[in-house]
C-alpha cells in the first residue's frame, strides 16, 4: 500500500461540528493510517486560515468549545491512538493561559507538538515559547514560506524540532495549488538549510496532489479538504469520505 510510505498529517478543528464528532473524525483519520493529527484549538481571529477553517473556528466557538475541552479531547484521543497528536492554534490562546502553563497542560494531555503560526521564532527576547516547549518536551513546529530568506531558514533549521512546516505557495489555507516545479525547487532550497523532515501544506485537495507532494516532501498536510469532505453528505457519509480520501490506493 502506498500510504504505508506516504506520511500524512490531517487537520481538524476541535468542536467542529461538535466535540463528539471531532473525536470520531480523529479516530477515522487514525484508522485510515495518517501519521500525525493536527487538532486546531478554535480562535476568534484565525488570520492564517482560509474561509473554510475560519468558519469552522467560529462555529466551534459559537457552540461554546473551550480550551479546556480541547485538552480533554487530546487526553481522550491519546488513550485510543498511538500516532503523534499536535495542537495548532494562535499565540493569544497560549499567552492568555500563560505560555508555560499551557505547554505543561498540553504535555500532560499527551500532545506531541505545537503549531502556532503567529509567533515568529525571533519575536520575543529569550523566546519563552520555544523555552516552554523544550521544558515540557513538546516539538515546536516552525512554519516557513517560499519567501523566507536563507538566514531565517538557517536559524529555523537550528531551532526546529520534529519537522518543519513548509507553506506550499503564497496564501492562506484552502486554496488549490499544484505541486509545481516551483514547489520542487522551493523544497530543494529549504533542504540546503534544514535537515529536519519537511511537511508540505496549504491547499492540497486531491489524492493526486498528495501522491505528487509526497515525492518532494516527507509529510503531506491535509487541511480544509477534510472539512469539505465531512460536509458532503450525512455524518456517517462524512466520516467515510474522510476515511476513503486518506487511504490512498
Amino acid at each position: 500500500m502506498k500510504n504505508q510510505q506516504i506520511k500524512i498529517m490531517s487537520h481538524l478543528v476541535a468542536g467542529y461540528p461538535s466535540l463528539a464528532e471531532s473525536e470520531k473524525i480523529a479516530l477515522a483519520m487514525a484508522g485510515a493510517g495518517v501519521s500525525y493529527i493536527e487538532i486546531q484549538i478554535p480562535f476568534s481571529d484565525p488570520v492564517a486560515d482560509g474561509p473554510t477553517i475560519a468558519a469552522a473556528n467560529r462555529h466551534a466557538l459559537d457552540r461554546g468549545t473551550s480550551v479546556n475541552d480541547c485538552f480533554e479531547l487530546m487526553t481522550r484521543l491519546k488513550e485510543r491512538v498511538s500516532i503523534p497528536l499536535l495542537f495548532m492554534s494562535y499565540y493569544n490562546i497560549l499567552f492568555r493561559h500563560g505560555v508555560d502553563a499551557f505547554c505543561a497542560r498540553a504535555a500532560a494531555a499527551g500532545c506531541w507538538g505545537l503549531i502556532v503560526p503567529d509567533i515568529p521564532f525571533d519575536e520575543e527576547p529569550g523566546n519563552g515559547y520555544l523555552a516552554a516547549c523544550a521544558k515540557w518536551g513538546l516539538n515546536p513546529i516552525l512554519v516557513i514560506s517560499p519567501i523566507t530568506p536563507p538566514d531565517r531558514l538557517r536559524a529555523i533549521g537550528e531551532m526546529a524540532k520534529g519537522f518543519v512546516y513548509c507553506v506550499s505557495g503564497f496564501g492562506i489555507t484552502g486554496q488549490e495549488r499544484n505541486v509545481s516545479d516551483e514547489t520542487r525547487d522551493y523544497l530543494a532550497r529549504v533542504r540546503q538549510h534544514i535537515s529536519q523532515p519537511l511537511a508540505l501544506g496549504f491547499g492540497i485537495s486531491s489524492q493526486d496532489q498528495i501522491v505528487a507532494a509526497a515525492e518532494v516532501a516527507d509529510i503531506v498536510v491535509i487541511g480544509s479538504k477534510i472539512i469539505n469532505l465531512y460536509n458532503q453528505g450525512s455524518e456517517t457519509e462524512g466520516l467515510k469520505n474522510i476515511s476513503d480520501f486518506l487511504q490512498i490506493s
Binding site: 476568534s44 481571529d45 468558519a55 493569544n92 516557513i144 523566507t148 531565517r152 503564497f170
Partner: protein, 418 residues
Amino acid sequence: MLTEKLMNVETGYFGEFGGRYVPEMLVPIMDALRDAFVRYYQDEEFLAELAHLNETYIGRPTPLYFCQNLTTRLGGARIYLKNEGLCHTGAHKINHCLGQALIAKRMGKKRVIAETGAGQHGLATAAVCAKLGMECVVYMGAKDYERQRPNVFWMERLGATVMEVKEGGQILRDAINAALRDQLTNPTDTHYLLGTVCGPHPYPVMNTYFQSVVGREVKAQIMKQAGKYPDYLVACVGGGSNAMGLFYEFLDDESVKMVGVEAGGEGIEEDSRKCRHAARMQSGYPGVSEGFKSLFLQNDDGQIKDTSSVSAGLDYSGVGPQMVYLRDIGRVRFTYAFDDEVLAAYDLVARSEGVFPALESAHACVEVIKMAPQLSRDEIIVFNCSGRGDKDLFIVAPRLAKDNFAAFLRKKVDELGR
C-alpha cells in the same frame, strides 16, 4: 525622551507592548516595509514631496480654532478645536494614507489594500490611490458597510473595490483580519495600508510619524494664538491614530496633560463573547492578536470579544501599543463616553460653534464638556476634532430627527421608483 521611545523603529516595542506577531511568510514583508520607512523618513526628497502634498492636496495646516461660545457657555478653561475635519476627505486618516502610499509607490507596489471602520480611512486610501494611480481594495465589515454606506459610495466613485466582510462580528476587527489574509495571499505586489497605530511593527511607529504633523501644527498655532502651550490635550481613541497625532509632539513637555477617550457604548458591561462598549483600558487584558501585543477585550480563554459603539471608528477590541504604554507610565489618562452622551455633545458643538464633529471625535467633546467647568480661565484645552460629522448622517438623523428623515427617505425612494 518619550518621543524617542515611541519612535522605536528598531523593534517596535513600547515597554512590553507592540512587536510583529505575524506568520513567518509576512516577516520579510514587514521587515522590508520597516527598512523602507527608515530610509524615506530621513530622505529629503521624500519629505519635500510629502510636505508639498500635505499643503496642496490635504490642505494642511488645518485650523486651530478657539471655541469662544462653548468656552463662555461652560465657564471654565479656554477650549480650542484642532479641525482635522477640514483635511481633504474629511478626517485625519489621510495624513498616514498619503505618507504610506508615497512609500509603497517607491517600493514598487502596484496594489494597495486597507481595512476601514467608519470608512474615513478607506476613503482617504481610495483618494490617494486614485491620485497615485494604484489599484485599491478596501475591506469593510458588513455591519460598518451598512451603517457607513455613503462612504462606500464615495470609495467606489474613487475607483476602489469595497469588499464587504461577512465573517465574525462584521466590524473593524474582521476587516483587519480580511486585509491580513489578503496580504498573506499577495505578499509582494501589494501594500497593506493599515489605518491606525495598531498592527505589527512598523505600522504603529510609521503612522505615528505621519500623524505627528497634527501636534506640530498645534504647537505653533497655540503659541501664536494664546502665547502658551495647552494644559490639556484630549482625543478619542479607537486604534489611537488621531490621539498619537495630537499627543506625540507634546510628550516631552510634562506640563501638558493628556486624556484619551474610548467608546463607552451602551455601558461598561460584557459577557464572555460580546462587549456593550469598546473601552479596552477599562476591561481589556494583555494579549496578542492582529499582529501585535497590546490590551484586547477578551475572555479568560483568550477569545477576542465583539465590541459595540455608535461610532464605527472606535468599535475595535484592540488598542495601539503606544497608547497602553503611555497609560502604564501615567502619561495619558483614559476615560470613556457613552453613546447618548456622544450624541448630545455632537449637537452641542454643532449649535455652539457651527462645527459637526465626527461621532468618533464627539467622544473627545464629551470629556471636554465635563472637564472645562472644573478648570480656570487661564487653562487651555485643545481637543482633536479628528473628522467631520457629515459622514454620520445615517446614524445621527434617525436618532435626532427621525420623522423628518424618514419622510425624506420615503420621498426619495418614491422618486427613484418612478
